[in-house]
Each structure stands twice: as structure tokens, then as C-alpha cells.
């Protein structure tokens, strides 16, 4: 299991570990502990996995869901934050990379209490196949 990229970037957490995307139209991560969210230095990187990742939707999208320490209802959901172009992504090729936004949270009730984040990838199941990895990295 990788914990460092070829360029030396240290992986903080593994969000998706070579998951198959062929069996559903979306994938949601577990709760990710992000006490460092408000530093603005947490980045998510999605990469092709052990088999070619084929995304059929143009575009696929990623939602970011913010939770408090109690893991109750979401504090905020940023729907379709980023888009991912349809295509084939070989092992290690980046589908998308983005910092987890946090400045907007100052305008949201309890936006200063976020402790967990979930990432949800939305795509069309039909025609999509293969595996992908996702990592949380500290910049």
C-alpha cells in the first residue's frame, strides 16, 4: 500500500484503496479525520488503480461533505465541487486533484466545527469500469 508518491509527496490517508467503480453509480468514502482542514493544506488526489479506470460520464463530479466531531448531520455539502473528464485513466494517472475548500465554511452555521469530511464521486455506471485510488495529502 503506497504511502508516498513518486514525487515524494507523503500520503496522509488513503481514501479509496483500489476500489472498483463498475458496481455502482457513485462511491462515498468513509469519514476522514481532518483536524488540519482549516490550514487549507489538505489535498485530495484521485488516480487510476490496478486496472484501467474508465469513466463514461462527461463529466463525473465530486461532492465534499463536511461533518462535526459528533458525525451527526452534515454541516455542509459542496455538491459537484470539481468535475472529472470522461476517459481512460491508467494506473497512477491523475483523474483530479483539489484542495479541500474551507474558507467558504466561515459563512456556514457551525462551519468552524468541521472535524470529518467525506468524498463522494458521482458518475454513470453504464460504461464505467476499472479501479481507482484516492489519497489525502498534506501540502
Amino acid at each position: 500500500m503506497p504511502n508516498i508518491f513518486n514525487d515524494g509527496t507523503q500520503v496522509d490517508q488513503i481514501i479509496f484503496d483500489d476500489i472498483s467503480i463498475a458496481d455502482a453509480s457513485s462511491k462515498t468514502s468513509d469519514f476522514m479525520v481532518v483536524p488540519a482542514l482549516y490550514t487549507g493544506r489538505l489535498e485530495v488526489v484521485l488516480m487510476g488503480g490496478s486496472t484501467d479506470c474508465v469513466l463514461a460520464t462527461n463529466p463525473a463530479t465530486v461532492d465534499i461533505i463536511y461533518y462535526a466531531k459528533s458525525k451527526g448531520s452534515a454541516i455542509h455539502t459542496w455538491s459537484t465541487y470539481v468535475s472529472i473528464s470522461a476517459g481512460t485513466y491508467k494506473k497512477g494517472k491523475i483523474l483530479t486533484e483539489f484542495h479541500i475548500p474551507y474558507r467558504k465554511l466561515k459563512e456556514v452555521a457551525n462551519g468552524d466545527k468541521v472535524f470529518y469530511v467525506k468524498i463522494k464521486i458521482n458518475y454513470t455506471q453504464a460504461g464505467s469500469s476499472g479501479n481507482l485510488n484516492a489519497y489525502l495529502v498534506w501540502k
Binding site: 488526489v45 491523475i94 486533484e97 484542495h99 475548500p101 474558507r103
Partner: protein
């Protein structure tokens, strides 16, 4: 000109200054932004409402479709003017393509198997959505319909179809989110790559001073792009519909 945000964040460059959403044609494209620090990954863009802003994206209007239920299938009598290459059906447990072809030719009307409830049908021409046909799952008797606009399926206690009421579908419009493209250039301002639809801006009204979008300038993926290690300038494009949008916004490049 602003050079510091209220929380003390230092502005590196102003990307858009008082961009008038109503008077500026879409896409609004920034000047070349010098980004020698791109590969540090510490460059961020923040888009802030200068005054109350309302922003909207492109609208897609669905086409009128007649639905006819036969004993086992749902036939979609699709108008000739609707050109499409595939239909994706969304079922409660996932999605799958249900377009029928015979010897490479589209079969019209399309026949939709009805052993499962259908939530939504999305028509594509290549990769572009050309029509969307929503059919909420509903409860009880109305397993396909929503407020009488679509086919109302009457089912027995076990959920088996008894008969359908046919109705014409109203025109239905969905609005896509405004979005940001990022173009990368080398030191000679030669084009390197365009990252299309990178981030989306939620449709809506933003009060003065509120953040409409914040994102970092991605750079890791450039290692897979020819000359991706030579980027020196970027341009930011804001894609929206100016007729229905209003207000002014600012966008800043910040270093964090």
C-alpha cells in the same frame, strides 16, 4: 485595489476586478496570470462577490416525450427532432445504458424494460446531455410519476402493474452549474493545456463579500501532459449565462 483579504490573507494578483456578470459575455477570461510558483501547489484562486451577485448556468430543456405502457415494457415515443446516441436509465440501485440498436441503427421507439422502477432517463448525443426525463420513484401507486406529468402506473398490492394513465410530459428545464476552466501556457505564452470544467460554482445569490468559489491551481496532473513542466502563465475562464446573472465579483490569486 485590494491587496489583503479581511482575514489577513495576502493577495498575490487580482484575476478579475469588479467583473460585471450581466454585462460581460461568457466566458469571462482573465488576462495571463504569471504563476512561477505554480509547482509549489500553494497558489489558490478565490472568487468573491463584490456586491450582491446572482449567477446562473446553461439551461437544458427536455423534449416532450409520450410514454406508452404495454404489458411488459415502457415504450418511449421519441420525437424525430431529438437526436441522441444513447440513453442512460437510472434505477434505484444504479445506472445502465438501455439504448437499443439493431445492426448499428438506433431502434425508435425505445423499449424500456419495466421490471425495475426508473428514476430518470438521460439522453446523450456523444457525451453531451440533450434531454432528461425525470420519473420520481414515488410511493404507493405512483411508482413512475410525479404530480401527473408523466406516466402514472397503477400497481396492485404486490407492486405489479395493473394499468397506466398516459400523459404528455411537460417541458422540463434543468440548469447546469457555472464552471471554471483553467488554461496553462509556457513562458512564451504558447498553449500547453486546458483543464475544462475544473470546478463548479453553485447557482444562486451571493451577498457582498461572500465566497463564490475557492480552489487551488492543480499542477500534479501536468506531469502527464507534453510540456506540462514548462507552465508559466495561466488563464481563468468563468463560464455562465450573463443574461440571467447580475452583480459584480472579484477574483484573486493568493499564496498559502
Amino acid at each position: 485595489m485590494d491587496n489583503i483579504l479581511r482575514d489577513g490573507t495576502q493577495i498575490d494578483q487580482t484575476v478579475f476586478k469588479e467583473l460585471d456578470l450581466n454585462e460581460t459575455s461568457s466566458p469571462a477570461v482573465s488576462d495571463y496570470i504569471v504563476v512561477p510558483a505554480l509547482y509549489t501547489g500553494n497558489l489558490h484562486i478565490e472568487i468573491v462577490a463584490k456586491e450582491e451577485c446572482e449567477i446562473h448556468g446553461e439551461e437544458i430543456t427536455s423534449t416532450v416525450i409520450w410514454s406508452i405502457y404495454t404489458e411488459e415494457d415502457l415504450l418511449l415515443n421519441i420525437p424525430d427532432e431529438l437526436t441522441y446516441s444513447k440513453i442512460i436509465a437510472q434505477y434505484p440501485d444504479g445506472e445502465e445504458e438501455i439504448t437499443q440498436y439493431e445492426e448499428g441503427e438506433l431502434v425508435i421507439p425505445q423499449v424500456i424494460p419495466t421490471e425495475k422502477n426508473i428514476v430518470k432517463l438521460t439522453f446523450y448525443q456523444d457525451d453531451e446531455i440533450v434531454a432528461i426525463f425525470n420519473m420520481d420513484k414515488g410511493k404507493g401507486y405512483q411508482i413512475i410519476s410525479e404530480d401527473g406529468n408523466y406516466v402514472i402506473r397503477i400497481v396492485d398490492e404486490e407492486g405489479n402493474p395493473v394499468y397506466d394513465i398516459w400523459q404528455e410530459v411537460d417541458e422540463d428545464t434543468i440548469e447546469l452549474s457555472p464552471y471554471i476552466d483553467i488554461e496553462y501556457f509556457d513562458r512564451e505564452k504558447n498553449f500547453v493545456f486546458k483543464l475544462e470544467k475544473y470546478v463548479n460554482i453553485p447557482i444562486g445569490v451571493y451577498f457582498a463579500g461572500t465566497i463564490m468559489s475557492e480552489f487551488s491551481l492543480p499542477f500534479k496532473f501536468l506531469k502527464d501532459i507534453e510540456n506540462g513542466d514548462k507552465c508559466y502563465y495561466v488563464k481563468i475562464s468563468l463560464n455562465y449565462v450573463n443574461d440571467t446573472s447580475s452583480g459584480k465579483l472579484n477574483a484573486y490569486l493568493i499564496w498559502r
